[in-house]
């Protein structure tokens, strides 16, 4: 393939935006730019394919002498030129190589005057960004407008300077508003930046930001200063969404601006949208009550890939400004999630959850959902050909529970005959260890089962949903790995009870703690006095296993996902478990409420008894805040439905009635 054809293909590819671009051309140094092959530097008209028939003629619209170019990252060229195009005129700019290969350019015009439309000529500065510069040919620039069309074949070798020079000479001298505009234009280019070379691209953008941004006095944090600003931490939700925490203080005048700049020049305002809260610890630095904390979830208009050199600025009503540099971005997603949840302790009225944490966590959970896929499916033994039920067990970290369950299932002949047992490993780093163990455990216990290894950690809901997709049974049983049957036959009893009830949604058995107190006899909802949120409660939790009230089957608002039976087709129709809750909680009641909304009834079955050795898997304050978040979300999504359900006498009266019956 000739260089020319390669160039054209590259241009087309870039124009459609479908490809992340070619591999970097290692034969050329990063600072060496393409050499023009044509000596004909004169402007000549070209046919614009999208507007065939229309002829462009040299009109002098572009000031040929003003064209300056500079490389920006490995794949982009920054182009500036001056044009007398009327400010109101609609225009398009494209680059052309040969007769075809039009590449529309991103561009903006910076008008240096505040004149009216009549004032002419308009020496507007055009700033354009050209992607995927062809290596062998220098493109022509064409400006199409309703006013005129002008094509120019610049002498690229003469116009090209380094980025710093171009910024300094063409852009740095403009007033602050135009510079901000130019910066925003450049930063937006991150949206289309190819993956390869993204780092040097981002670094060049940072250079542009430093050249164009108005530097402010560094913030002061000393006693006696009236203005102060600090960014405590920035956590990445993804490349363009961030969780920002800091504080700001101004003892002189109200704040009018609080801005965050990414290293690439993205700019977000925090003043209006951030959650602000008291920081009494700042009273030692400022007058009491002046300093306040802020927490903000921000979405940048483009991507940011640099961790260092984030900057924040503050400005008050009398014009005092200062800035501070933020610590490096933390990009570990688990750390981000933990930080968001831990920050909820500053939330007094759910505003922080609603305005910041919810959109942030939702975005994170959606990302997790996107990577929910099976990497490998292992099958141990021959599973039943037409299984009555598929038992789906997500495994997370405690893979030793596999052994515990198999040791018990081994003594249950009907389980071995009827159940299609599917383990879904949600801690992928343990894949090798599990595979190593599983084959031997199958040999030892003779219970057939499958193991699905996932590509990444996806959480309780998605792990269960993946298991459900693999399932072959008419019924599904979602079973936690820390649930052990009290005695064989539990699955039979559940199947029989399930099939004997019309209009059943989900069925849940009696679950016990290791000391024979009740862990689960159905769920109901209770509005908490302090927060006003609905909370999942277990009927009779902690009472004795033989407590009479828990000894009869009955309709309940919801059942626990630790052991939940549902028809597979029904589960599929409902779309499975909702993956928006954090760390596996409330997915079960969410599902059960949707079943109630379908007009179905959820049932508790005391005849099937299993132990649920519920453990605690992460520290207490995090668990408390996670629970608060899930509670809020659950209420946010289902509060009205829950309120209606809890009006029903059979659900609210049940605990009291049962207590009487038992006495």
């Amino acid at each position: 393939m000739s260089d020319a054809r390669l160039s054209q293909r590259q241009i087309r590819t870039a124009a459609t935006g479908a490809s992340p671009g070619p591999e970097p051309d290692t034969t050329r140094g990063p600072l060496e730019r393409p050499r023009p092959t044509s000596t004909d530097a004169a402007a000549r008209p070209v046919t614009r394919p999208a507007d065939a028939g229309r002829r462009a003629s040299p009109s002098g619209l572009i000031d040929g002498a003003s064209v300056r170019t500079a490389p920006l990252g490995p794949w982009h060229t920054l182009v500036t030129f001056r044009s007398a195009l009327r400010p109101t005129a609609a225009a398009d700019l494209s680059a052309t190589v040969g007769e075809e290969g039009h590449l529309p350019l991103r561009w903006t015009r910076l008008d240096q005057r505040d004149g009216t439309e009549d004032a002419a000529p308009y020496p507007s500065l055009f700033v354009a960004l050209m992607g995927n510069t062809p290596p062998a040919e220098s493109p022509r620039l064409t400006l199409y407008s309703e006013q005129a069309t002008d094509t120019l074949e610049p002498d690229w070798s003469r116009s090209s300077v380094d980025l710093r020079t171009l910024l300094r000479e063409e852009l740095a001298g403009m007033d602050a508003g135009l510079r901000t505009e130019a910066l925003a234009f450049l930063a937006a280019a991150t949206m289309t930046a190819p993956e390869a070379g993204k780092l040097s691209f981002a670094r060049d953008l940072m250079l542009a930001r430093d050249a164009l941004r108005e530097p402010q006095p560094l913030r002061a944090r000393d006693r006696g200063e009236s203005q102060g600003l600090n960014i405590d931490a920035i956590h990445a939700v993804d490349d363009s969404a961030y969780w920002v925490r800091g504080w700001v203080a101004d003892g002189d005048a109200p704040l009018v601006r609080l801005t965050l700049f990414s290293p690439e020049g993205h700019r977000v305002d925090l003043l209006d949208d951030a959650y602000r809260y008291p920081r009494p610890d700042l009273d030692s630095l400022f007058a009491p009550g002046v300093g306040e904390g802020f927490i903000a979830y921000v979405e940048l208009p483009g991507l940011s890939r640099l961790d260092a050199s984030w900057i924040s600025e503050v400005q008050n009503a009398v014009g005092t400004t200062s800035e501070t540099e933020a610590p490096a971005v933390e990009r570990d997603l688990d750390a981000t999630r933990r930080r968001i949840l831990m920050d909820l302790e500053h939330d007094r009225d759910h505003r922080l959850i609603e305005s910041q944490a919810f959109p942030a966590l939702l975005r994170m959970q959606r990302r997790v959902a996107a990577r929910a896929a099976v990497a490998e499916l292992r099958e141990y033994g021959r599973r039943p050909t037409t299984p009555e039920a598929s038992v789906i067990v997500p495994l997370y970290r405690r893979i030793d529970f596999l052994e515990q369950q198999l040791a018990q299932f081994a003594h249950d002949p009907t389980f071995r005959e009827k159940a299609d047992l599917v383990y879904v490993l949600d801690s992928p780093e343990q894949g090798d260890e599990l595979v190593e163990r599983a084959a031997y455990l199958h040999e030892l216990y003779g219970v057939p089962f499958r193991v699905a290894l996932l590509r990444g950690n996806v959480g309780f809901a998605h792990a269960n949903n993946i298991g459900a997709e693999l399932a072959a049974g008419r019924l599904l049983v979602f079973l936690n790995s820390d649930v052990l049957p009290d005695r064989p036959g539990w699955l039979d009893r559940m199947v029989e009870a399930h099939d004997g009830m019309d209009g059943i949604g989900a069925l849940g058995p009696k679950l016990l703690y290791e000391d024979d107190s009740l862990q689960h006899a159905g769920l109901y909802f209770q509005r908490t006095a302090v927060s006003g949120l609905w909370r999942n409660q277990h009927y009779f939790k902690g009472l004795h296993r033989h407590f009479a009230g828990a000894a009869r089957a009955r309709a309940v608002p919801a059942v626990t996902g630790a052991c939940l039976m549902i028809r597979r087709a029904l589960y599929r129709d409902l779309g499975g478990m909702e993956g928006v809750y954090v760390q596996g909680d409330y997915e079960d009641s969410d599902l059960c409420i949707r079943l109630l909304e379908e007009g179905l009834t959820n049932w508790y079955l005391p005849d099937a008894e299993l132990y649920h050795l519920e453990g605690q898997s992460y520290p207490d304050s995090l668990r408390r805040l996670t629970r608060r978040y899930n509670e809020w979300l659950h209420t946010h999504l289902w509060g009205d439905a829950i309120a209606e359900v809890m009006q029903e006498a059979r659900y609210t009266d049940a605990p009291a009635l049962d207590r009487e019956e038992s006495s």
Binding site: Q404, Y440, Y445, E514, L613
Partner: protein
């Protein structure tokens, strides 16, 4: 018809490291071999904590013990054994190695003696490899019930425990969640479920396992059999003031209770003397060693720390004393030292609890004292060494020790029953 093959599985070979259960298992194996009804085989576990050189052959944990083709060793790495779950972490040890062994040997009966360092999983593997082969298990201790080495003595106050539960076990081990104790029991029981018949050397032990969840129909009392020994002479007519202790010098064996009692006794019966025949003091906690030595000093000339002894020295040592004291502060199962004392015609003074109280008849062939109480022991010892005619009366009450031949005959009947499908059902129901 070929003689039925009986496979014994034990956690150690007494030649590698002395121990009561393993010595019994070896004697049982040899007695069966010397008989003509069964063809026994013994597999004893070997590992770095028991034998100086224990490197396994590449590719197999099995190796021969010596010339006898039916005495085998099986290696397990001590550090790969989980003492909480009582399981070997490398499951291929069961599913590959032991499976191949069992299929090759095709025993008609598998009789477990001890599965420490082997894991209860081995029972499940036997059932998997040999679905129709009867499985017996002789319970020598309380490891399945109590995580504290089966001592059933509480960690924080030394109180004896008869009531293992997740809650109470966690009180002894606060760092282990209660649910883990629940799972431990369920896990071990899931394996022991495959055992057709358990044998209990004491009624006390049988009751503990029934309390723990084993069906009474599946667990039968069967005392240890002993090979006959030459009874030590009674010795010349004399005052019966010589007291002997045989066993490990550890806190559970009650030696400090005994020393305290001797100190009190020596004040008014200076003629009484204690010989301590025991070992492993140096392996005990420093505080215990200190207390032991301090008490020994205070007893002064009334006690002699004689140290450890070989099995062959026992008749001589028994001849030199009149009374055997078994002052354990834990329950014990069926202490071999009681059988040994009886074999040599020595009445036994013991704690009034568990397996000791069961094996020694108070005022019949020995005396009981209140477990853990030095004053009670002092009074009992005073009576023993001073009351005329008591020693002779109690010596006359000593029963014949259960003979190994009778034991083997009894086991033979049990094996026959398990091998006959109709009898097998009856045997276990």
């Amino acid at each position: 018809m070929a003689k039925p093959r009986v496979l014994y599985i034990v956690h150690n070979h007494p030649e590698l490291h002395p121990g009561g259960a393993e010595a019994y298992a070896l004697e049982l194996y040899r007695s069966l071999r010397d008989g003509d009804r069964f063809e026994p085989q013994l597999v004893a576990r070997i590992g770095p904590n028991q034998a100086r050189t224990a490197e396994p052959h590449p590719g197999t944990p099995f190796r021969a013990m010596g010339a006898d083709p039916d005495e085998m060793l099986v290696y397990t790495a001590t550090e790969r054994f989980d003492f909480f779950w009582m399981t070997h972490r490398d499951k291929s040890f069961y599913t590959r190695d032991f499976d191949a062994f069992l299929r090759a040997q095709q025993p008609d009966i598998v009789h477990f003696q001890h599965t420490l360092f082997l894991g209860y999983d081995l029972v499940t593997q036997v059932r998997r490899s040999l679905p129709d082969t009867p499985i017996l298990y002789t319970l020598h201790e309380f490891l399945p019930i109590c995580h504290r080495n089966g001592q059933m003595v509480r960690t924080f106050n030394g109180e004896r425990c008869m009531d293992a539960s997740p809650r109470r076990c966690q009180e002894c081990f606060p760092e282990i969640p209660a649910r883990d104790f629940f799972m431990r029991r369920r896990f071990i029981q899931s394996h022991l479920e495959h055992v057709d018949l358990f044998l209990a050397p004491s009624r006390f032990l049988r009751d503990r396992y029934i309390d723990w969840g084993i069906d009474p129909a599946r667990i039968r009392f069967e005392e240890y059999g002993r090979r006959p020994a030459q009874r030590a002479p009674a010795g010349a007519e004399r005052e019966r003031t010589r007291i002997g202790f045989f066993g490990q010098l550890n806190p559970f064996k009650g030696v400090t209770v005994l020393l305290e009692a001797m100190r009190l006794l020596s004040e008014d019966v200076p003629g009484a003397h204690l010989w301590l025949h025991g070992a492993n003091l140096e392996l005990q906690p420093p505080a215990f060693q200190e207390r032991f030595c301090d008490l020994l000093d205070r007893v002064g000339p009334s006690a002699t720390l004689a140290g450890s002894y070989g099995h062959e020295a026992l008749p001589g040592l028994m001849a030199g004393i009149d009374w055997v004291v078994v002052p354990s502060v834990w329950w014990e199962n069926s202490p071999l030292v009681i059988q040994e004392a009886f074999q040599h015609g020595r009445p036994v003074i013991c704690s009034d609890i568990g397996g000791m109280a069961e094996k020694v008849g108070h005022e019949v062939n020995g005396l009981h004292f209140r477990a853990g109480d030095p004053r009670s022991l002092t009074e009992t010892l005073r009576r023993a060494v001073t009351e005329p005619g008591l020693w002779d009366r109690l010596r006359a009450g000593i029963p014949d020790v259960y003979d190994m031949e009778d034991h083997v005959r009894s086991l033979g009947e049990i094996y026959d029953g398990l091998l006959n499908p109709t009898l097998r059902r009856e045997a276990v129901s």
